[in-house]
Each structure stands twice: as structure tokens, then as C-alpha cells.
């Protein structure tokens, strides 16, 4: 009987590894290769796992179930996906994009999650000529970037847009006599929170609001009791937090437990997540946050149900629908002009597309027709601002008590 020598077990392991990685060979020309590098591990994995990855998988499944991606000549080609983990590191991400473009020679590259990641790959995508539909990138510099990288598309607005939308909602409520002119605002000391607060301060001032409490807190803060009770004592009717998901959840729980019931309760990222009502034990109605959807829009209801059915979770109500819409745009653009990158970029830039968020036409390579403020109403996160956008709901102010 042979002994299990170390060398032999190593050999066996190596063979197993080779066997596992060998993929069934696919005939050339039959498939469309679509590649993406997203954060499967590391700090960005949560965001990518909620907004980006499920929608990529859902879309690929939908397209392949329908027989494949349709080309201009009417033929259909199945999608073959090449997926890499960027480990939440931009260095690894850049390398993965280089690999997709020059090694795997994929036909299309889908963007990663987060503003920083999209910016890190933008010069590369430009050099390789791939169109980049940067969905999950919030930046006030989008017009500048769209000019710098002609084939880049920026689809989630900038911090100033969201801040301005919120100020509009509050101004209307004040003019209706529902809230006073005092606002308590807290912001996370990180890119997104800073962008928003920098946009909000002048906007609030211009609208005649008094920022009676204005504090920033470091990323990773987990105890909000002191901050919230100071806000409670500030006589402000409106509580505004430009926060990240863990903070948004933490502040909500703190407010509930201390019985803090401002007329306006606004939290940042995370407020539109499907788990938010669960965080509040079903008392989320009246809470405002970033994003929103038109619940009566033609495609949205089906999309929510379909997403929940296929991926096991409902989508978030901010960027998820837009992510899927960006893929629909890509699909329709390919159908019209094929896979040539220059023609695709031109079509994405100038064409109009029929998506689940309605008809989309980009302005200067940016999606501007977005929901800036949303509110939980009857357990659904509805868009309330811009108030003149079709499908807008009227905001409920004051918020019902917890």
C-alpha cells in the first residue's frame, strides 16, 4: 500500500486545481464576451453586492433566457461572462481591466461599483476605447469627466444635486407652515458626506434656513446617542444626516429608542435599501432619503418582483433600477449598431432608450432625469423630488411618530 507522501498529495492538489479551472471550450464567434471586475471581497463588497452584482447577473440571465444578445442583423449571440474580484483595491481593479481588455479581449466591459473605482478605470477604458456606463458614481465633476473621456457616461448625478433637491422639499414644507426654519444636520467625514454637506450649506442658507446644529463625524462611528440628543435639543424641526449605510441604520435605531420625532427625518445612503423597513421594525413610513422610484412606472413593479424572485432579494430603491436600466440601454444600443465601440458610444450618447425607468436620453453623456429625494410611504420608497417629475409623490410632513 502506498503512503500519502507530501509530494504526492501536492501533485494531486495541483491536478485538482487544473481540472477545476479548465472550462468547457466554447466555439468562437458564437458568444458575446462581457467582462467585469467588481468587489467580491473587501470593504466595497457590501455596496457592490446590493446594487451592482445582482443586476449584472439578473440582466445576463434575462438576455440569455431570451436567446442571447440581439445583433443589428437580427441574429442572437449568448453572453459569456468573465468576472474578476478587485478585492476593493483600485490597483487590482486597474489590472483586472487591463486583463479583460488585452488578455481576454472581451467585447464589452461593465463598470465597477463606487465613484473612486469608476474614476480609476476611466482613463484605461478610454485608451482601450470601451464605452463606460458609470452608474454607481456620484460626482459633481461629471460634466468635466464626460468631456475628458468621450466614451464615459455618468448616470447618478452629483452631491450638489441631492442636497439641492432636499432643500427644495424642506423649503416647500416651511412655506406651507409645516416646519420651522431651523435644521439640524450631521455628515460623515468621507467623500460622499462631504460633497453633500458642501452643497447643502449654501443651499440651506440661500433658502433662508438656519443650521442650528452642524456636525461631522468620522467614518466608522457607531454610537450616535450624544449627537442625536444634541440635535433633539436644537429646536430644529428637520433632522438631516448625510450618512453611510451603517450610520443611517444606527441613527434610525437611536432615534426610535430615544423617542426623537422630528417633522423631517432624513438619512443618507442605506435609507433606500430594502432592509430599511426591517431596521425600523416596520415604522419606516415618513423617513426620507436619497433616491426613489416611480412606483407606478410601467417597468418598476415587474422589475422589483423579478429581481426578488431571481436573486433572492429585492433591489434597493436608488441605484439598482438605474443599473439595470443602463444595461437595457447597452442591450438596445448593441441591437441598433452592433459591438463596434465607437458606434456604440455614439449611440449611447445620442440615442434614446426604452427602459424600466422610462425613456432615457442622456444629456452631455449624463443621466439627469433622476430622483433626488425619496420617502417611505406605505412601505414603499417613493420619489418625491423633483416634484414636477412624472410619477412624483407628495411628501408626508410631518413624519408620523415612530
Amino acid at each position: 500500500m502506498d503512503k500519502f507522501t507530501r509530494r504526492r498529495s501536492l501533485c494531486a492538489m495541483a491536478l485538482a486545481a487544473v481540472a477545476l479551472t479548465a472550462q468547457p471550450a466554447l466555439a468562437d464567434g458564437e458568444t458575446v464576451k462581457i467582462g467585469y471586475a467588481v468587489s467580491l471581497t473587501g470593504p466595497n463588497a457590501t455596496g457592490a453586492g446590493i446594487t451592482t452584482i445582482p443586476n449584472y447577473k439578473l440582466w445576463v440571465k434575462d438576455v440569455n433566457d431570451a436567446g442571447g444578445l440581439e445583433m443589428p442583423d437580427g441574429s442572437k449571440r449568448m453572453i459569456e461572462v468573465i468576472e474578476y474580484d478587485d478585492r476593493s483595491s483600485n490597483q487590482d481593479l486597474v489590472r483586472a481591466i487591463e486583463r479583460l481588455a488585452s488578455q481576454d479581449k472581451v467585447d464589452l466591459i461593465l463598470p465597477p461599483w463606487s465613484t473612486g473605482a469608476n474614476l480609476a478605470i476611466a482613463p484605461l477604458m478610454d485608451r482601450f476605447g470601451y464605452p463606460q456606463l458609470a452608474v454607481t458614481a456620484v460626482t459633481d465633476k461629471a460634466p468635466e469627466f464626460a468631456g475628458r473621456w468621450k466614451r464615459s457616461f455618468w448616470m447618478l448625478g452629483g452631491g450638489h444635486d441631492y442636497a439641492k433637491g432636499l432643500v427644495e422639499v424642506l423649503t416647500a414644507a416651511r412655506e406651507a407652515g409645516k416646519i420651522n426654519d431651523k435644521v439640524a444636520v450631521v455628515s460623515v467625514a468621507d467623500g460622499f458626506g462631504i460633497d453633500l454637506i458642501n452643497g447643502a450649506r449654501p443651499a440651506f442658507e440661500e433658502a433662508g434656513f438656519d443650521l442650528v446644529y452642524d456636525k461631522s463625524y468620522p467614518l466608522g462611528t457607531s454610537d450616535f446617542a450624544a449627537m442625536m440628543s444634541e440635535a433633539q435639543n436644537s429646536e430644529a424641526d428637520s433632522f438631516v444626516a448625510f450618512s453611510y449605510p451603517p450610520d443611517s441604520f444606527g441613527m434610525t435605531k437611536t432615534a426610535i429608542s430615544m423617542g426623537y420625532n422630528p417633522a423631517v427625518f432624513y438619512v443618507g445612503v442605506g435609507g433606500a435599501f430594502p432592509i430599511y423597513p426591517g431596521i425600523t421594525e416596520g415604522k419606516s413610513d415618513g423617513v426620507m432619503s436619497i433616491g426613489g422610484v416611480d412606483v407606478n412606472g410601467p417597468g418598476i413593479k415587474d422589475y422589483f418582483a423579478h429581481h426578488a424572485e431571481v436573486t433572492g432579494n429585492p433591489p434597493d430603491s436608488w441605484a439598482s433600477a438605474i443599473t439595470y436600466a443602463s444595461l437595457q440601454m447597452l442591450e438596445q444600443a448593441v441591437k441598433r449598431v452592433g459591438l463596434d465601440h465607437a458606434a456604440l458610444a455614439e449611440e449611447l450618447s445620442t440615442g434614446s432608450f426604452d427602459t424600466l425607468i422610462g425613456t432615457v436620453k442622456l444629456e452631455d453623456n449624463q443621466l439627469r432625469d433622476l430622483w433626488w429625494v425619496g420617502q417611505w410611504q406605505d412601505g414603499v420608497f417613493k420619489g418625491v423630488n423633483p416634484s414636477d417629475k412624472p410619477g412624483a409623490s407628495a411628501p408626508t410632513i410631518p413624519k408620523p411618530e415612530w
Binding site: 474580484d85 478585492r87 490597483q91 487590482d92 467614518l219
Partner: protein, 303 residues
Amino acid sequence: MRFILPLAGLAALAVMPMWLSEYGLGLMIGLVTYVTLASAWALFSGHTRYISLATAAFYGTGAYVVAVLNEVLPYPLVLLSAAGVGLAMALVVGLSTLRLAGIYFVIFTFGLAELVRQLITWYEVNVTGTLGRYIFLDVTARGIYWQMLALGAATIALTAWVHRSRLGLALRVVGDDEVVAAHSGIPLARTKLVAFALSATILTVAGAIASPRYVYVEPAIVFNPTVSFLTVIMALLGGANRLWGPVLGAAPLFLVFEYLSVHFPDTYPIFLGLLFIAVVFLLPDGVLAGIEKLRARRREARS
């Protein structure tokens, strides 16, 4: 004769981009970067056996200096400034902490990256009112590769020189026994400080050279603790107190990580953890020492 082989290798590496694809070049940049980091790390930690987890602090600082200055100063001056900032930081940190020994030093250096990150964040939030800066430099991937290669070669040359100098000897004694070193008249503080500052300056410049590939810089992005851990494990695998040890550790490990993350994106961190444990348990002194031990054993068996 001793110089011919390394120089020929360097020349071969320098002309490699002519035949490489973009991805191949990106891979080489990553590889050379980690070789440089591991070698620079070993310059101080290899002999003194002070395990420093501050690599990310210096590497990130380098990137940040470029982000702040890239639109104000010409590129060579930006690199020089990065070196200057790294040196100044190393002197401040070194003077205040090199009295710490063992685990205390490890913990402090680990905290250093977080400290620098929070300081920059505080400054950006409260003073400049922005977070996230852009690096728009016309440095091509080839340019980055050649610069990093030059820095890596310089680091190894410097290490070779230090090994032969009085400084290297002093460092070795410090690593073996600090009390003995002090009693034999070695100026402990100065010796450690010089080595620490040299190593830190190289780490900072490496961060500066690599930064144009980020485009967008945020404290959370550049002060990534994984860089510190990978550097340590690479240097230890090869053998931190040998000239070519860090190279022999960094090159294969980097390629293995790349292979794993491409083919096993979901289970990659598990492999990484197992590898770390394997290195520490099976090859505590590094591959080179392991090979020597094996040879010695064979010789014994033969005689």
C-alpha cells in the same frame, strides 16, 4: 562577475515592455512594485527583526503627496517632495517609537497608517472641505514600470551596500541582541533611525510612482492595510535578512495571488489565509534558509 547577472537581468526586465500586452505590463508593474516594497521593508526589518506594519502608511503618503502636488509642481519635483515628506515622517516616527520593542512596535506601526489616514481626513474635511483628489498626469504604464524598476534596482543595490557596511553589521548585532549591541558601543538610536528612514523613504517614493494609476485618491483607498500585510509575508517567505530573499518571496507570491484571484475569485481570501499560515509554520526563516537547511541535511546524509 557578481554584477553581470543582476545587471543582465535588469536590462532584460527593462526591455520587456516591448513584447508585453497591456495586461502583462500591468502585471509586471504590480510585481516590481511588491518586489520594491518587500526589499525596502527588509532593508530595515530584515536585520533588526522589528516587524513593521507601517508600509501602507508610507506608501499611501507617497500617493497622497502626488495627489496634492501634481497640478502645482513638475513631476520630478513632485517625486522629490514625496521623498522629502517620507523622510520627515520617518524621522518623526522613528525618533518617537524605535525605543519600543517587540509586539509594541508592531502594534504602533499598524496604528500609524490609521493615524495618518485620520489626520488627512480631518484636515481635508475641516480645512480644505474636500475629500478625494484627482491625479491627472501623463505618465504611461511603461513610464511607471521603468520608474518602479529603477527604484527596485536601487533598493536592492542599496541593500547590498548596507549589508557590507558598518551600518549593516551594526543592524545585525541589534537584531541579535540589543543589550549586547549597546554594550559594544553601537549607537542604537542612530543606527535604527538611519535604516528606518532609508526604508520609509523608498516606500514613500514607491507610492508616489504607482499613484498615477489610481487617478482618484481618497484616504480610504490609499491607506489599505492589505499592502502592509502582503509586504511582510512576501519578505518573510523569501527570507528577510538576505539580499535576494524579498525578491524571491515577492515575485512568486504576487503571481500566485493573481492566479488565485483570477481563477478562484470567491475563495481567494481562504487560500491567502492558508498561505500565510503555511509560510509562518513551514518556512519561518524564508525559502532561502529552507533550501540551505535542506542542502545541509543532504550533505549530512551523504557523509
